[in-house]
């Protein structure tokens, strides 16, 4: 039971972080389908940081990992911002390209690192067994992870920024009606760049949290297994609002956690359902949920449409 709660919360943290990233980007008017790729890059950054600068001090280790992951995510999101905001490229296409590219880049980098330390090592796996322990605090069998607190703080901060600050109001204006926003002197390009960069920040962070959630090594060939897209489903289910996203993330996180720990429950193990079914569960739930919630979507009105100064 403790284990289920622990996994639910850590997966919910990942989903809410990345979904909030998508939320910022979409509120500014740019659909970020590249979140999956951004997560991979964040994960890569974090894992490389843990490998190259191992530290025994928990605070230093967490700080370097997070900072590098976030920087990787933000740098990678520039690809989306530049193509979609400045060159008005198709946002779906660029997002898809970023997902493919992210996994390819991560695989190439990790393999090169592995081969450079040991010429016979051609795997695409990075390990961080000792480093990971610094992130955990054991409280009566519940493995508390510092990332949980970070996710909570970011959740509250996102709500505050989006709804209580001038920046948030302007950002949302650019996603609803960029022409109207421009007419009162808001720089739409700058706002959309900030939206995408924030999503890079949060996506990168989500990526490193994801690969450290259940295991102490990651095979970069598999990317992040559709988690970026699950986060987008969470965002849609959460109606682009931080507090609802948090609840949606908990629901999805629960089903994802089930696939990790179902063998620990006697009644579930007794049902003798193949493990493949539990692996499918989060994706099935998200399809069903989307089928019932997409009809009355509260999506920002101008999302997906490139902003052109000339059209009024």
């Amino acid at each position: 039971m403790m284990l289920l709660a622990q996994y639910t919360i850590i997966f919910a943290s990942v989903l809410s972080l990345v979904a909030l990233g998508g939320c910022f980007s979409e509120h500014s008017g740019v659909i970020n389908l590249g979140l999956e790729g951004i997560m991979v890059m964040g994960a890569l950054g974090g894992a490389v940081a843990m490998n190259l600068f191992p530290s025994t001090n928990a605070f230093v280790m967490i700080l370097t990992t997070v900072v590098v992951a976030v920087i990787f995510g933000m740098i990678y999101s520039v690809l989306l911002a530049f193509a979609c905001i400045n060159l008005k490229a198709d946002q779906t296409l660029i997002g898809t390209a970023m997902n493919m590219l992210g996994t390819a880049v991560a695989t190439v980098v990790v393999r090169s690192i592995n081969t450079s330390t040991d010429p016979n090592n051609v795997s695409t796996t990075l390990q961080y067994v000792d480093q990971k322990k610094l992130f955990l605090v054991n409280i009566n069998g519940f493995e508390f992870n510092w990332f949980m607190i970070i996710a909570l703080v970011i959740l509250v901060a996102s709500y505050f920024v989006l709804y209580k600050t001038r920046f948030g109001l302007r950002l949302r204006a650019c996603g609803e009606n960029p022409q109207a926003a421009a007419s009162v002197g808001i720089n739409v390009y700058k706002m959309r760049w900030s939206g995408v960069l924030i999503s890079g920040f949060l996506g990168g962070l989500g990526g490193i949290v994801y690969i450290m959630a259940g295991v102490s090594e990651w095979k970069f060939e598999v990317g992040v297994a559709g988690f970026g897209f699950l986060s987008l489903a969470v965002m849609i289910f959460g109606q682009w609002k931080p507090h609802r996203i948090a609840l949606a993330a908990l629901l999805f996180g629960f089903f994802r956690a089930l696939s990790n720990v179902y063998t620990g429950f006697d009644f579930l193990a007794a049902l003798n359902i193949p493990s493949q079914f539990y692996n499918m569960l989060p994706y099935i739930i998200s399809l069903v949920v989307l089928a019932f919630t997409s009809k009355n979507s509260a999506a920002p009105k101008a999302e997906g449409i490139p902003y052109d100064k000339g059209t009024r």
Partner: protein, 380 residues
């Protein structure tokens, strides 16, 4: 002046090819830079290996055999690319193609190994399975407003696990390995016939009539999209859903039909690979096969034209195969995925490249008009 005759750079065909070439050259250049960063000594040779692929083999016979392998894998890739291309023309981004491909593989292998059916029935099974999956995305899009990209991705993963479950059954899976059974032993009638094509490629058994069938499919897709009322209606729906409805077209039906056709194409693609007995399905697979995603690359590189897609598919498959030939102890073979990724990313800029090609001409024309006007002004 001759306003009707467009200059060379303004012709749409030339622009599409030009933009594709720019993408390819830039993609290869970046690939070369990455290779140089890993190990500068062999980078030039490695990039040439990727580019030349089968040409690097020593003898002509070996070259032909390798070309045959690449062609055998181009057929399924082309089908996936056609699936994406067809849907994109109707305004739908069929990122569910990998899932439809998986469904096709699952149905084809199940029909071949568990039901012992001949190849042409297995192919039908694959098409129907892909179409069904496409229909799910289509219905969700038309009636529940679910973005086809999100539903496609979810279905990719769901289908992967379903496939693993179905193909793990005793009738299909080899008892000693995680792979599906060898078709040539279990059910030779399910292998797509070669019709003598294999002999052209040094007796390569992977070369079958699947290759010409895929090319015919490309031509059929081109005809449907450009020469039929049905295709026109679908494209109209893609341009403007509301407008199509206003003109009396059933826009919801069109969306569903499009994804059904797209799904069938991708499903057929899987049959074209797995029924040649070239590869087997791995029932412990944990990642969605790259074939469908490479199809997206081929589509956009082909300038969203079914005929252009044939060449683009061959190129993408060729560099993917070339990537597996480079020295694995020095360079990761995934460098080809990296190059395809960069190429798709750059394809997003196609509009921008075309704009630059037209802009030069427009600038000159503008200058001309200006000078003429000032002359007129001077005369008056």
């Amino acid at each position: 002046m001759n306003q009707t005759k467009k200059s060379f750079l303004e012709r749409p065909g030339v622009q599409a090819v030009g933009a594709a070439l720019i993408c390819v050259v830039l993609g290869l250049l970046i690939g070369f830079i990455v290779l140089s960063l890993i190990n500068p000594a062999g980078a030039g040779e490695a990039i040439m290996t990727i580019l030349l692929n089968f040409m690097t083999r020593a003898t002509t016979a070996a070259q032909l055999k390798a070309l045959g392998n690449t062609l055998a894998k181009t057929a399924p890739l082309l089908m996936c690319a056609l699936s994406v291309c067809f849907c994109y023309k109707v305004g739908l981004f069929n990122i569910g193609a990998p899932g439809q491909y998986e469904a096709g593989a699952c149905a084809a292998l199940f029909a071949a190994l568990a039901l012992n059916l001949p190849w042409y029935v297995c192919i039908l099974f694959a098409a129907v399975a892909g179409a069904l999956l496409g229909a799910v995305s289509g219905i969700l899009k038309a009636y529940r407003n679910v973005n086809e990209v999100i539903s496609g991705i979810m279905l990719n993963w769901i289908t992967l696990y379903i496939c693993n479950m179905v193909l793990s059954s005793e009738a299909v899976k080899d008892s000693t390995s995680p792979y599906s059974k060898d078709l040539s032993q279990a059910n030779p009638s399910s292998i797509i016939p070669s019709a003598g094509l294999g002999n052209l490629f040094s007796g390569n058994k992977a070369v079958t009539i699947a290759i010409p069938l895929a090319i015919i499919a490309a031509i059929v897709v081109w005809v449907i999209l450009n020469k039929t009322k049905f295709g026109y209606e679908l494209k109209a729906t893609g341009y403007n859903k509301e407008g199509a409805r206003y003109a009396g077209m059933k826009e919801k039906r069109n969306i569903i039909v499009t994804l059904i056709i797209g799904g069938a194409l991708a499903g057929l693609g899987a049959a074209f690979l797995y029924l040649t007995n070239y590869t087997k399905w791995e029932t412990t697979a944990t990642s969605v096969p790259g074939m469908g995603f490479n199809g997206i690359a081929a589509t956009f590189l082909g300038g969203l034209n079914p005929i252009g897609t044939i060449f683009a598919s061959f190129f993408i498959q060729s560099i993917t195969d070339g990537g597996s030939l480079i020295d694995r102890m020095i360079y990761p073979s995934q460098i080809s995925d990296l190059i395809s990724g960069i190429i798709i990313y750059l394809c997003g800029f196609t509009l921008f490249f075309k704009y630059i090609m037209t802009k030069n001409k427009a600038k000159r024309a503008e200058k001309k008009i200006k000078t003429e006007k000032t002359k007129e002004g001077g005369n008056a």
